[in-house]
């Protein structure tokens, strides 16, 4: 039994979240044109400004598509996506204006409970409010009333459009405009739901807000949009989790997340992404093409992204921070794992505009099997960003000799007072390390898991407690079979 076998074996355990739920779906025909956009907007009973915005986005996207302007710069490979072969709206049938959980399809509730997510407030851990998004729509949001006491709004995006159109109109697209990139334009045109959170001035959100995204239907894309606004001096911590059934076809997930932090506000955004990664031969899996960006609009504001990316066939994702306010802080902590034939091209952008702005980037890439893992990060210091500072650390860990790790840092400095630090390392899990731990009594699996958890420690400690434990487990499960 050699080490590379040991490592190979640990990395291939079955995907546990791959079940399919039988529900009646209200789905529109496959394909995408202006009528599709109108149909989605009608189904959601949207005000005119939404339809106008969607149509502008669609026309922009269509022009990019005609010009074959789908981005090609990422270090990923996939066959062309047939955008006419996708269903853009699929929702479990449910009563309109449902008042309580009793009116949600029990099959859908059952699906969430299988995933370990109870939507019943009494059964949930106090301290975490959940918005549950199933295919194209939000099926339930918990603890809304309790949050409302503090003035915090937490609801599905659709509900926000109906009940808080002014806030939506003010902030939608203000961080990620529909013209930002190919997938952001597509999302703006067809997005069907997502989460909305608003924390008023001076309020510290009393519980973790979270959204659990589940793709269920076949041939369906999930296009959700999340918007979080925290007013002066407010604080919010938001978590998201994602899973999907095992299917042989690739499915597209193109989300957009926008965060806005005003003066002295803080937003902490954590992701544990576990979309179906495809099988051992690289068939199937989710294409996770996501645009996430936060804007530190106010002075002394702070936005912190933490992500643990273990799923998806392809991940293309760069959670970024625009540091506009003076003394604002942007952080990015990332663990990305690619096993079997998974590909990840992920990193961040830190755009320093305000004075004395500070950013920290800690990126950990783990590659096993035939996985290809790319860190791509941009740090930009604009002319007015006097006293800006950035610290970047990116570390790659290779397991076995069939995988790859790549690093593409872009640094652009237009103000001489900036201070930049960049550290990078690449290492392999050595047979000597595994033997050392086994000699003390740990199994090969425990040894590899311990080495990897140590490697990821700087990122895990940024996650909320409950999530950190989940993330550690997920990582060892995702690697199971890569060590033998």
């Amino acid at each position: 039994m050699t080490t590379s076998n040991t490592i190979q074996d640990i990395a291939s355990q079955e995907y546990k979240w791959g079940f399919i739920t039988e529900v009646d779906e209200d789905r529109i025909p496959k394909g995408l044109n202006e009528d599709t956009i109108r149909l989605i907007s009608t189904k959601k009973n949207e005000p005119g400004f939404m339809l106008d915005w969607r149509l502008k986005a669609y026309r922009h996207w269509a022009s990019l598509e005609r010009a074959h302007a789908e981005p090609t710069w990422a270090h990923i490979k996939h066959p062309p996506i047939d955008y006419q072969g996708i269903t853009y709206y699929s929702a479990p049938k449910q009563k309109p204006n449902r008042k309580s959980l009793d009116e949600v399809d029990p099959e859908v509730l059952e699906a969430y409970s299988k995933l370990g997510i109870s939507l019943n407030e009494q059964k949930r851990l106090a301290g975490v409010a959940v918005d549950a998004v199933f295919d194209s729509v939000s099926v339930a949001t918990t603890f809304k009333a309790k949050l409302a006491e503090k003035g915090v709004i937490f609801c599905s995006f659709s509900e926000a459009v109906q009940k808080h159109p002014d806030l939506v109109k003010k902030y939608l697209g203000s961080v990620v405009p529909y013209s930002d990139n190919f997938f952001a334009a597509l999302n703006a045109a067809v997005f069907s739901d997502g989460s909305f959170a608003y924390v008023p001035k001076g309020v510290r959100c009393p519980m973790e807000l979270s959204t659990y995204f589940r793709i269920n239907a076949a041939d369906t894309g999930q296009f959700e949009r999340t918007l979080i606004v925290v007013e002066e001096g407010g604080y919010a911590s938001y978590l998201e989790g994602c899973t999907a059934p095992k299917r042989d076809e690739n499915q597209l997930h193109a989300a957009v997340v926008e965060l806005i932090a005003l003066d002295n506000a803080q937003i902490k955004y954590s992701t544990v992404q576990n979309w179906y990664p495809g099988d051992k031969e690289g068939n199937g899996g989710i294409y996770n093409f996501v645009t996430k960006r936060g804007k530190c609009l106010g002075n002394n504001s702070k936005i912190s992204w933490t992500q643990v990316e273990t799923g998806s066939a392809i991940t293309w994702k760069y959670p970024s921070v625009i540091l506009m306010g003076d003394n604002s802080v942007g952080e990015f902590y990332s663990v990305a794992l690619t096993n079997n034939y998974q590909q990840a091209d992920t990193g961040t952008k830190m755009i320093h505009m305000g004075k004395n702005t500070k950013s920290t980037i800690i990126a950990k890439g783990i590659s096993a099997g035939h996985g290809q893992n790319t860190y791509r990060g941009q740090v930009k210091i604009m002319k007015g960003a006097t006293g800006a500072r950035n610290y970047t650390q990116c570390d790659s860990l290779l397991i076995g000799d069939q995988c790859g790790a790549h690093t593409f840092p872009y640094i652009e400095v237009r103000n001489g007072s900036a201070r930049m630090e960049h550290e990078a390392s690449t290492s392999k899990i050595g047979e000597d390390q595994i033997f050392y731990l086994r000699q003390r009594g740990l199994s090969a699996e425990e040894a590899v898991s311990m080495i990897i958890n140590g490697f990821c420690k700087q990122v895990f400690r940024e996650l909320p407690m409950e999530f950190a434990v989940e993330a550690q487990k997920l990582l060892s499960v995702s690697l199971e079979g890569s060590v033998g």
């Binding site: 050392y436 000699q439 003390r440 009594g441 311990m450 080495i451 140590g454």
Partner: protein, 254 residues
């Protein structure tokens, strides 16, 4: 019953035969030193006993407390009570010494059917052992061997041994790279572990260690075989006369 019984052990690495028929019996409670020039097979013997997979056993038998050691995986041998102090201890970034050692101890306790120790029960044990080895408390929280000096790594090995309380400890050149003060501290730690139900194998190049840990027996390993065995005085003779004295072919070898 002997703690360890090695019969006609042949082992190779990369198809090169390193051990060419070792016979050795170590009763419980005894300390045996294995000396020999570079390349004689000392470290190979330690790694074979600890069940490192890259070392292939071609022939022979090894009984550890009466059980077939060669059928065990490294972690099984460890859980049965075999400890190896490494010549070059390995670093594990991001995992604290305390966390690692508690995980190791609990893996061994689980193997024996005992309940795991929580941090509150474990830390006082670790603290006592670290005091014995004169290691600062801060080492508990530092990543395993990361940024440790050579001497600190060796002392950390003995701390681990003291916490895990093995039945058989194989110390692979634990004295190399130690100054005289550190050597005395390590020796004190090892001597504190001597007991009637524990055996210790000291693998060393130099006699110096044996001034502080006095062995019951000394064996000389050369070219993959034990060519002479004797009491502690054999080590002194070797120190004075060199290995060439017992094996003329090795004249000049260190």
């Amino acid at each position: 019953m002997n703690m360890l019984e090695i019969r006609n052990l042949h082992a190779r690495i990369d198809n090169q035969e390193i051990l060419k028929g070792i016979d050795l019996a170590i009763p419980a409670g005894e300390v045996h030193a294995i000396m020999g020039p570079n390349g004689s097979g000392k470290s190979t013997l330690a790694h074979v006993l600890a069940r490192r997979e890259s070392y292939e056993v071609a022939e022979g038998q090894v009984l550890f407390q009466g059980k077939d050691l060669l059928a065990m995986k490294p972690e099984e041998a460890a859980c049965e009570g075999l400890f190896m102090a490494f010549q070059y201890p390995v670093e594990v970034a991001g995992i604290s010494n305390a966390y690692f050692l508690r995980a190791a101890l609990n893996a061994q306790r689980k193997y024996r059917g005992e309940d795991p120790l929580d941090a509150i029960d474990f830390l006082p044990i670790l603290k006592a052992k670290m005091e014995l080895l004169e290691m600062d408390e801060r080492f508990q929280g530092r990543s395993v061997n990361e940024g440790f000096s050579g001497g600190e790594k060796k002392r950390n090995e003995i701390v681990q041994m003291a916490v895990l309380e093995p039945r058989l400890a194989v110390l692979d050149e634990t004295d190399s790279g130690l100054d005289i003060d550190a050597l005395k501290i390590v020796a004190r730690g090892v001597n504190a572990m001597r007991s009637p139900d524990r055996s210790i194998v000291l693998i060393t190049h130099y006699q110096r260690l044996l001034d502080y840990i006095v062995p019951d027996y000394v064996h000389v390993l050369a070219n993959g075989r034990i060519i002479r065995s004797g009491g502690p005085e054999l080590a002194l003779e070797l120190e004075n006369k060199g290995y060439g004295w017992i094996a003329p072919a090795l004249a000049g070898a260190q």
